[in-house]
Protein backbone atom coordinates (compact mmCIF):
# COMPACT_ATOMS: atom_id res chain seq x y z
CA UNK A 1 0.00 0.00 0.00
CA UNK A 2 1.38 3.41 -0.89
CA UNK A 3 0.52 7.01 -0.12
CA UNK A 4 0.88 10.18 -2.14
CA UNK A 5 0.37 13.58 -0.50
CA UNK A 6 -1.32 15.80 -3.07
CA UNK A 7 -1.53 18.93 -0.96
CA UNK A 8 -0.45 19.99 2.47
CA UNK A 9 -1.54 22.73 4.83
CA UNK A 10 1.38 23.09 7.15
CA UNK A 11 2.12 25.63 9.80
CA UNK A 12 5.77 26.53 10.33
CA UNK A 13 6.66 28.33 13.53
CA UNK A 14 9.52 28.93 15.92
CA UNK A 15 11.93 31.52 17.23
CA UNK A 16 14.24 33.52 15.03
CA UNK A 17 17.56 32.29 16.42
CA UNK A 18 20.09 34.72 15.05
CA UNK A 19 23.77 34.38 16.00
CA UNK A 20 24.75 35.97 19.31
CA UNK A 21 25.10 39.77 19.06
CA UNK A 22 23.31 39.66 15.69
CA UNK A 23 19.78 39.45 17.07
CA UNK A 24 16.92 41.23 15.29
CA UNK A 25 16.59 44.77 16.63
CA UNK A 26 12.87 44.59 17.36
CA UNK A 27 12.80 48.12 18.75
CA UNK A 28 13.94 49.43 15.39
CA UNK A 29 11.32 47.35 13.57
CA UNK A 30 8.62 48.64 15.95
CA UNK A 31 9.80 52.19 15.28
CA UNK A 32 9.49 51.61 11.52
CA UNK A 33 6.01 50.12 11.91
CA UNK A 34 4.93 53.10 14.01
CA UNK A 35 6.38 55.54 11.48
CA UNK A 36 4.69 53.72 8.62
CA UNK A 37 1.35 53.75 10.47
CA UNK A 38 1.57 57.47 11.26
CA UNK A 39 2.65 58.57 7.81
CA UNK A 40 0.73 55.94 5.85
CA UNK A 41 3.93 55.24 3.94
CA UNK A 42 5.39 51.86 3.04
CA UNK A 43 7.73 50.29 5.57
CA UNK A 44 11.22 51.57 4.96
CA UNK A 45 13.86 49.04 4.03
CA UNK A 46 16.39 48.47 6.76
CA UNK A 47 19.27 46.13 7.50
CA UNK A 48 17.23 44.75 10.39
CA UNK A 49 14.33 43.85 8.13
CA UNK A 50 16.74 42.31 5.63
CA UNK A 51 18.22 40.17 8.42
CA UNK A 52 14.79 38.82 9.30
CA UNK A 53 13.78 38.21 5.68
CA UNK A 54 17.06 36.50 4.79
CA UNK A 55 16.94 34.36 7.93
CA UNK A 56 13.47 33.11 7.02
CA UNK A 57 14.35 32.34 3.41
CA UNK A 58 17.59 30.58 4.39
CA UNK A 59 16.14 28.41 7.14
CA UNK A 60 12.84 27.52 5.47
CA UNK A 61 14.91 26.54 2.44
CA UNK A 62 17.34 24.47 4.48
CA UNK A 63 14.88 22.71 6.78
CA UNK A 64 11.82 22.36 4.58
CA UNK A 65 13.22 22.68 1.04
CA UNK A 66 10.87 25.56 0.21
CA UNK A 67 12.50 28.30 -1.85
CA UNK A 68 10.87 31.59 -0.96
CA UNK A 69 10.84 34.88 -2.84
CA UNK A 70 9.68 37.97 -1.04
CA UNK A 71 6.48 39.53 -2.39
CA UNK A 72 5.53 42.26 0.05
CA UNK A 73 5.77 43.34 3.66
CA UNK A 74 3.93 45.59 6.08
CA UNK A 75 3.57 46.14 9.78
CA UNK A 76 0.54 46.49 12.01
CA UNK A 77 -0.15 47.79 15.48
CA UNK A 78 -2.96 46.18 17.45
CA UNK A 79 -4.62 48.04 20.28
CA UNK A 80 -5.39 46.40 23.65
CA UNK A 81 -8.32 43.97 23.36
CA UNK A 82 -8.42 44.45 19.60
CA UNK A 83 -9.37 41.56 17.33
CA UNK A 84 -8.95 42.00 13.61
CA UNK A 85 -11.50 41.07 11.01
CA UNK A 86 -10.68 37.79 9.21
CA UNK A 87 -7.65 38.45 7.02
CA UNK A 88 -6.77 36.86 3.70
CA UNK A 89 -3.62 37.77 1.77
CA UNK A 90 -4.55 36.29 -1.59
CA UNK A 91 -6.78 37.86 -4.18
CA UNK A 92 -9.19 35.06 -5.23
CA UNK A 93 -9.63 36.82 -8.57
CA UNK A 94 -5.91 37.14 -9.16
CA UNK A 95 -4.30 33.98 -7.82
CA UNK A 96 -1.45 34.28 -10.32
CA UNK A 97 -0.14 37.36 -8.55
CA UNK A 98 -1.05 36.24 -5.05
CA UNK A 99 1.50 35.00 -2.51
CA UNK A 100 1.94 31.35 -1.49
CA UNK A 101 2.84 31.94 2.15
CA UNK A 102 2.12 34.49 4.84
CA UNK A 103 4.65 35.01 7.59
CA UNK A 104 3.86 36.82 10.84
CA UNK A 105 6.70 37.97 13.09
CA UNK A 106 6.23 39.05 16.69
CA UNK A 107 8.01 42.42 16.91
CA UNK A 108 6.64 43.51 20.28
CA UNK A 109 3.81 41.32 21.47
CA UNK A 110 2.07 40.42 24.66
CA UNK A 111 -0.82 37.94 24.74
CA UNK A 112 -1.02 38.13 20.96
CA UNK A 113 -2.85 35.20 19.38
CA UNK A 114 -3.26 34.17 15.77
CA UNK A 115 -6.25 32.06 14.78
CA UNK A 116 -5.88 30.28 11.46
CA UNK A 117 -8.87 28.78 9.67
CA UNK A 118 -8.56 25.61 7.63
CA UNK A 119 -10.62 22.82 6.11
CA UNK A 120 -9.91 19.19 6.94
CA UNK A 121 -11.57 17.56 3.95
CA UNK A 122 -15.33 17.47 4.72
CA UNK A 123 -14.77 18.97 8.16
CA UNK A 124 -14.98 22.62 7.15
CA UNK A 125 -14.20 25.78 9.07
CA UNK A 126 -11.81 24.35 11.65
CA UNK A 127 -9.36 26.71 13.34
CA UNK A 128 -6.03 26.60 15.11
CA UNK A 129 -4.96 29.06 17.80
CA UNK A 130 -1.32 29.87 18.35
CA UNK A 131 0.35 32.55 20.45
CA UNK A 132 2.72 34.86 18.59
CA UNK A 133 5.43 35.67 21.11
CA UNK A 134 8.25 38.16 20.84
CA UNK A 135 10.84 37.22 18.21
CA UNK A 136 8.69 34.31 17.05
CA UNK A 137 7.45 33.65 13.52
CA UNK A 138 4.44 31.79 12.19
CA UNK A 139 4.22 30.91 8.50
CA UNK A 140 1.21 29.32 6.79
CA UNK A 141 -0.35 29.12 3.31
CA UNK A 142 -1.79 32.45 2.20
CA UNK A 143 -4.97 30.68 1.14
CA UNK A 144 -5.80 30.25 4.84
CA UNK A 145 -7.87 33.02 6.41
CA UNK A 146 -6.71 34.17 9.83
CA UNK A 147 -7.25 36.80 12.44
CA UNK A 148 -5.05 38.36 15.11
CA UNK A 149 -6.17 39.25 18.61
CA UNK A 150 -4.49 41.30 21.29
CA UNK A 151 -5.89 39.62 24.39
CA UNK A 152 -4.73 42.00 27.10
CA UNK A 153 -5.65 45.52 28.08
CA UNK A 154 -2.33 47.25 28.73
CA UNK A 155 -0.07 47.37 25.70
CA UNK A 156 0.06 47.62 21.94
CA UNK A 157 1.12 44.64 19.85
CA UNK A 158 3.47 45.16 16.89
CA UNK A 159 3.39 42.49 14.19
CA UNK A 160 5.37 42.39 10.94
CA UNK A 161 3.83 40.53 8.01
CA UNK A 162 5.84 39.24 5.05
CA UNK A 163 4.30 37.43 2.11
CA UNK A 164 6.27 35.00 -0.03
CA UNK A 165 6.00 33.19 -3.29
CA UNK A 166 7.53 29.73 -3.43
CA UNK A 167 9.49 28.78 -6.55
Amino acid sequence: MQKKVLTEQALYYGDVSMPQHWEIDRTELAHHILHSSLTNEQLQFSKTYDKLDTYMRDFIGLEHSINLVNKSTWGNIYKPNETTIPLLNIDPLDLKNSPDYTLLYGVKTNDCFVTIFYDDNRKKGKNWDIELKNNMFIMFPSTNMYYISNRQKDSLNFVQTITYESI
Partner: protein
Protein backbone atom coordinates in the same frame (compact mmCIF):
# COMPACT_ATOMS: atom_id res chain seq x y z
CA UNK B 1 35.59 34.19 -8.50
CA UNK B 2 35.70 33.02 -4.92
CA UNK B 3 32.98 31.09 -3.15
CA UNK B 4 31.91 31.35 0.47
CA UNK B 5 29.52 29.16 2.43
CA UNK B 6 27.20 30.84 4.91
CA UNK B 7 26.86 28.60 7.96
CA UNK B 8 24.58 28.64 11.00
CA UNK B 9 25.50 28.06 14.65
CA UNK B 10 25.28 24.30 14.11
CA UNK B 11 27.73 24.55 11.21
CA UNK B 12 25.06 23.72 8.63
CA UNK B 13 25.48 25.41 5.26
CA UNK B 14 22.61 27.84 4.59
CA UNK B 15 23.79 29.25 1.28
CA UNK B 16 26.84 29.57 -0.94
CA UNK B 17 27.72 32.95 -2.39
CA UNK B 18 30.12 34.03 -5.08
CA UNK B 19 32.49 36.87 -4.38
CA UNK B 20 34.60 38.92 -6.74
CA UNK B 21 38.26 38.20 -6.14
CA UNK B 22 38.93 41.93 -5.88
CA UNK B 23 36.67 42.07 -2.81
CA UNK B 24 38.99 39.84 -0.84
CA UNK B 25 42.30 41.57 -1.46
CA UNK B 26 44.23 42.73 1.56
CA UNK B 27 46.42 45.85 1.71
CA UNK B 28 49.22 43.98 -0.06
CA UNK B 29 46.93 42.91 -2.91
CA UNK B 30 46.80 39.30 -1.74
CA UNK B 31 43.51 37.38 -1.68
CA UNK B 32 42.68 36.67 1.94
CA UNK B 33 39.73 34.77 3.37
CA UNK B 34 39.32 37.14 6.31
CA UNK B 35 38.97 40.14 3.97
CA UNK B 36 36.25 38.29 2.08
CA UNK B 37 34.55 37.45 5.37
CA UNK B 38 34.57 41.10 6.42
CA UNK B 39 33.12 42.11 3.05
CA UNK B 40 30.34 39.55 3.36
CA UNK B 41 29.58 40.57 6.95
CA UNK B 42 29.17 44.16 5.84
CA UNK B 43 27.06 43.47 2.78
CA UNK B 44 25.12 40.38 3.80
CA UNK B 45 24.24 40.98 7.44
CA UNK B 46 25.80 37.81 8.79
CA UNK B 47 28.85 37.58 11.09
CA UNK B 48 32.23 37.27 9.40
CA UNK B 49 33.23 34.08 11.25
CA UNK B 50 30.16 32.33 9.81
CA UNK B 51 31.37 32.70 6.23
CA UNK B 52 33.76 29.92 5.20
CA UNK B 53 35.58 29.91 1.90
CA UNK B 54 35.00 26.86 -0.26
CA UNK B 55 36.50 25.61 -3.51
CA UNK B 56 34.27 25.14 -6.53
CA UNK B 57 36.72 22.64 -8.03
CA UNK B 58 37.19 20.42 -5.00
CA UNK B 59 35.20 17.21 -4.65
CA UNK B 60 35.99 14.18 -2.49
CA UNK B 61 39.25 15.84 -1.52
CA UNK B 62 40.44 15.97 -5.13
CA UNK B 63 40.92 19.07 -7.24
CA UNK B 64 39.20 18.68 -10.63
CA UNK B 65 41.87 20.74 -12.41
CA UNK B 66 44.79 19.05 -10.74
CA UNK B 67 45.41 21.76 -8.17
CA UNK B 68 45.47 21.49 -4.40
CA UNK B 69 42.13 20.36 -2.96
CA UNK B 70 40.63 22.80 -0.47
CA UNK B 71 38.35 21.78 2.42
CA UNK B 72 37.26 18.41 1.12
CA UNK B 73 34.20 19.27 -0.93
CA UNK B 74 32.56 22.26 -2.54
CA UNK B 75 29.93 23.29 -0.01
CA UNK B 76 26.24 22.91 -0.80
CA UNK B 77 23.08 23.83 1.05
CA UNK B 78 22.56 21.31 3.85
CA UNK B 79 26.23 20.34 4.07
CA UNK B 80 28.00 20.52 7.42
CA UNK B 81 31.23 22.35 8.09
CA UNK B 82 33.72 20.51 10.30
CA UNK B 83 36.26 22.93 11.67
CA UNK B 84 38.67 20.34 13.12
CA UNK B 85 39.27 18.53 9.85
CA UNK B 86 38.53 21.56 7.65
CA UNK B 87 36.00 19.64 5.56
CA UNK B 88 32.52 20.33 4.21
CA UNK B 89 30.49 17.14 4.58
CA UNK B 90 27.49 16.23 2.49
CA UNK B 91 24.47 14.74 4.26
CA UNK B 92 25.09 11.34 5.79
CA UNK B 93 23.56 8.89 3.31
CA UNK B 94 22.83 6.12 5.84
CA UNK B 95 22.82 6.07 9.64
CA UNK B 96 25.55 3.45 9.81
CA UNK B 97 28.01 5.18 7.49
CA UNK B 98 31.14 6.78 8.87
CA UNK B 99 33.36 9.66 7.84
CA UNK B 100 36.45 8.91 5.82
CA UNK B 101 38.65 11.93 6.31
CA UNK B 102 41.22 11.26 3.55
CA UNK B 103 38.61 11.16 0.80
CA UNK B 104 36.19 13.59 2.51
CA UNK B 105 33.42 11.10 1.89
CA UNK B 106 31.06 8.80 3.75
CA UNK B 107 31.89 5.09 3.77
CA UNK B 108 29.79 2.08 4.69
CA UNK B 109 30.94 0.15 7.79
CA UNK B 110 32.18 -2.64 5.50
CA UNK B 111 33.85 -0.31 3.03
CA UNK B 112 33.18 0.38 -0.63
CA UNK B 113 30.91 -1.73 -2.80
CA UNK B 114 32.59 -4.75 -4.42
CA UNK B 115 33.83 -4.26 -7.97
CA UNK B 116 31.60 -5.65 -10.71
CA UNK B 117 32.83 -8.82 -12.39
CA UNK B 118 34.11 -8.64 -15.95
CA UNK B 119 30.97 -10.46 -17.12
CA UNK B 120 28.67 -7.97 -15.34
CA UNK B 121 30.65 -5.05 -16.76
CA UNK B 122 30.42 -6.53 -20.27
CA UNK B 123 26.66 -6.95 -19.87
CA UNK B 124 26.40 -3.30 -18.75
CA UNK B 125 28.31 -2.17 -21.82
CA UNK B 126 26.29 -4.31 -24.28
CA UNK B 127 23.59 -2.59 -26.38
CA UNK B 128 20.53 -4.13 -28.04
CA UNK B 129 19.53 -3.61 -31.68
CA UNK B 130 17.97 -0.22 -30.80
CA UNK B 131 21.18 0.97 -29.17
CA UNK B 132 19.79 0.72 -25.65
CA UNK B 133 21.49 -0.83 -22.68
CA UNK B 134 20.08 -4.17 -21.62
CA UNK B 135 21.63 -4.39 -18.18
CA UNK B 136 22.58 -2.06 -15.38
CA UNK B 137 24.37 -4.08 -12.74
CA UNK B 138 25.37 -2.12 -9.67
CA UNK B 139 25.59 -2.42 -5.91
CA UNK B 140 23.15 -0.65 -3.59
CA UNK B 141 23.64 -0.35 0.15
CA UNK B 142 21.07 -2.22 2.26
CA UNK B 143 20.88 -0.53 5.65
CA UNK B 144 18.81 -3.34 7.18
CA UNK B 145 21.19 -6.15 6.35
CA UNK B 146 24.28 -3.90 6.47
CA UNK B 147 25.42 -5.37 3.16
CA UNK B 148 25.80 -4.35 -0.46
CA UNK B 149 23.01 -5.80 -2.64
CA UNK B 150 23.75 -6.55 -6.28
CA UNK B 151 20.95 -5.09 -8.41
CA UNK B 152 20.17 -5.02 -12.10
CA UNK B 153 18.00 -1.90 -12.60
CA UNK B 154 17.00 -2.40 -16.23
CA UNK B 155 15.89 -6.05 -16.23
Amino acid sequence: MAHFAKIDENNRVLAVLTLNNKDMLNADGVETESVGQQYLEKHNNWPAYMWIQTSYNTSLNQHKLGGTPFRGNYAGIGYTWEEDNQIFWSKKPYASWVKHIESASWKSPIGDAPTLTTEQQQQNDALDLNGKRTNDWHYRWNEETQKWDLINSIV
